[in-house]
């Protein structure tokens, strides 16, 4: 892969009149966005055949910055909107750019059902362990014991592992990286964008302002160093006992398979219906 200079990517894909972004210093969303755009660019995908969908939150503002068709919807509902777009026009490629609270809390039901149906969509999930936009409340992903404004003494709940959840619900492709793993990240997005069915690439992404400074991780470099400490490659994790994996986050490719996608299933269903009704042989 040839890495183009950032400004080429910026000039080709961002809406200049929308800049600067709303993102805080040290935020990881810009990095994840860059990986996604680089993946699109590298694959030579047609900009006019891609629709970006999002819900509510910092990362959900991304479809506004990119020069594509985009639908910035209601909190948690991006994948339900995406279902309508994809099924009404299967020629469109749909990217859902989501945050962890948006995807796994208020949108949790849409997430698992979109995966169960194997909806043809690529989810880019920015996981910063918190609700950044509203000021750092605990999320369903906040590691137990870490602080948010709504759990000032440390979260007392168990967090979701979104990647594992996606695998269990039946996704065709699931990978997780931290923003630090940029090459793996770009390659995973490229893979995801080329597959049918539900694909998800999750990124651990720093939010020093809302999350970090409440948890002794005041800057992006501190958060990235922390990611290095807590992440374990999936190949290594396989041989580790559960006690050692306590408090760790597994990164890598979780699944890569080719179950029939929703669009494929519905096409077959239409043929079946016409056959049963005697409309077609």
């Amino acid at each position: 892969m040839y890495l183009k200079p950032s400004y080429e990517i910026r000039d080709k894909y961002l809406r200049k009149d929308m800049l600067p972004t709303i993102f805080c210093p040290g935020c990881g969303i810009g990095a994840v966005l860059q990986y996604t755009l680089r993946a699109i660019d590298d694959l030579g995908l047609n900009q006019d055949e891609i629709v970006w969908v999002s819900g509510i939150g910092c990362s959900s503002r991304v479809p506004g910055y990119v020069n594509f068709d985009g639908l910035h919807t209601t909190h948690g509902r991006a994948l339900a909107f995406a279902t309508g777009i994809k099924m009404a026009n299967p020629d469109l490629k749909v990217i859902a750019f989501m945050g962890d609270g948006d995807a796994a809390a208020i949108g949790g039901n849409h997430l698992i059902h979109a995966i169960r149906r194997n909806l043809d969509v690529t989810v880019i999930l920015v996981n910063n362990f918190t609700y950044g936009m509203t000021g750092g409340q605990v999320a369903p992903t906040t590691p137990k014991g870490l602080r948010g404004t709504t759990a000032p003494y440390g979260s007392f709940e168990n967090p979701f592992d979104i990647a594992e959840l996606a695998v269990a619900a039946g996704a065709n492709y699931v990978a997780r990286w931290s923003v630090f793993n940029y090459l793996q990240g770009i390659n995973s997005i490229k893979k995801a964008l080329q597959k049918r069915g539900f694909t998800l690439v999750e990124f651990l992404s720093p939010c020093p302002i809302s999350f970090g400074r409440r948890n002794k991780l005041k800057t992006a470099p501190e958060l990235i160093k922390w990611y290095q400490k807590i992440t374990v490659p999936i190949s290594k994790a396989k041989d580790m006992p559960p006690e050692e994996l306590e408090g760790k986050v597994v990164i890598g490719e979780f699944v890569d398979r080719d179950r029939p996608s929703l669009v494929e299933e519905y096409e077959a269903y239409k043929r079946r219906a016409k056959k049963i009704m005697g409309w077609e042989e």
């Binding site: 629709v51 309508g84 059902h113």
Partner: protein, 385 residues
């Protein structure tokens, strides 16, 4: 084009079934729903027909997802519909507001049942009138149609799609369990007999730059649907003519919301539809809608037989509302009765319209049974004694 039901012919079907067939004839090719009594038959009919006409019918995980998918499909270029009843209607309120703000054409059918909450799932009510008009938060306007017969359910479904496409707005078809489950003779026109409306698309790239701008002076911007190279950005945040979020600019917010409200209010004449009977010489007017209007019609005939000059105003459109029409009627009658299956919702709108020029009385009925004509007659005669 082959249809999986009779066209250019009459059939004896339920209201729910009629709505599904009419939707398909109107060009609806995307349906998303969630099972709920008494609207499930619409979904079941759509599930049976859609794959045969190369459309999509999909069961979502809830009603929030259903209307979300419908909005997505509409932006992908499809005519799209969902149907529900009370509890599901409540769940749809947030995304209904999103559809209004993003000017997304869609049809939302509410086959009303008795509430609040789970209430009486199998029995009719008209308790969602105010919610249909005002249920989603913020300043807004939309269109609400209401049928009294199975034929009207059919015809108004087609009209609902036409209005949605013409004004780039969600349209609610507000019916009830009685009309939804009743079987009547329905004539389904051949598609060639139908006048169908399709949304305005941008004529060129320049027009496509303003998906939310009044570029034609009719308050309805052309809709640059996805996948055509327009690179449209759609957001529920307050946005300017180009669709860019502008969330702290009072002037932009006012311009946007006033245009969205204005495109409905300024076209009242085109949208509003009603029928009258005997109002010309009436001393007493009954205002009613939906299934209750049929009892009210019978009551008017009975009253006139007994020498009481009664008249009927049957509303086919509940919003936008013709306050001026009510005032005109109020000027010519002594008393206006509002018969409805709730504790008084249309009543308040009629009272506002009457503007003190006639006394406005409510004939209310809740619990799932429609007013009998005799009940309405008795009430009016009692008041006259």
């Amino acid at each position: 084009m082959r249809y999986p039901f009779p066209v250019g012919d009459a059939d004896f079907i339920q209201g729910d079934e009629a709505i599904a067939r009419a939707a398909i004839l109107a060009g609806c090719r995307f349906y998303a729903g969630y099972p709920i009594t008494p609207a499930s038959e619409i979904f079941e009919a759509m599930s049976l027909y859609m794959p045969l006409v190369d459309g999509v019918s999909i069961q979502m995980e809830d009603e929030i997802g259903s209307i979300a998918a419908v909005i997505g499909a509409s932006w992908a270029g499809a005519k799209a519909m969902t149907a529900t009843s009370g509890p599901g209607f409540s769940l749809m309120m947030e995304n209904l507001g999103y559809a209004i703000m993003t000017e997304t054409p869609l049809v939302l059918v509410n086959v009303q049942r008795s509430g609040p909450s789970t209430g009486q799932p199998t029995l009719a009510a008209q308790g969602d009138l105010m919610q249909a008009i005002w249920g989603t938060h913020g300043d807004h306007s939309l269109i609400v149609l209401t049928p009294a017969t199975v034929q009207e359910a059919f015809d108004m479904t087609i009209r609902a799609f036409n209005l949605a496409e013409k004004y780039r707005t969600p349209v609610i078809l507000l019916t009830d369990a009685e009309v939804g489950h009743m079987r009547e003779r329905v004539y389904a026109p051949h598609p060639d007999e139908l006048e169908l409306v399709y949304r305005k698309l941008p004529a060129n790239e320049e027009e496509a730059k303003y998906p939310f701008g009044d570029i034609h002076g009719d308050l309805v911007p052309p809709m640059p649907i996805f996948g055509k190279g327009y690179r449209t950005y759609v957001t529920g945040l307050t946005h300017d003519e180009r669709g860019r979020p502008k969330t702290v600019d009072a002037e932009i917010h006012e311009r946007l919301v006033k245009r969205i409200v204005g495109k409905i209010e300024n076209n009242k004449k085109d949208i509003i539809d009603y029928e009258t009977y005997g109002l010309e010489d009436a001393d007493i007017a009954i205002v009613s809608f939906g299934i209750v209007a049929r009892s009210a019609m019978r009551a008017v005939k009975e009253l006139r037989k007994e020498g009481i000059n009664a008249g009927l105003l049957k509303l086919n459109v509940l919003w936008p509302f013709d306050f001026e029409l009510i005032e005109k009627i109020a000027e010519n009658v002594e008393r206006i009765y509002v018969a409805e299956m709730n504790l008084g919702q249309l009543y308040h709108m009629v009272k506002e319209g009457a503007n003190g020029k006639a006394k406005v009385e409510l004939i209310s009925r809740i619990g799932g049974e429609v007013h009998t004509p005799g009940e309405i007659v008795e009430r009016i005669k009692r008041d006259l004694r």
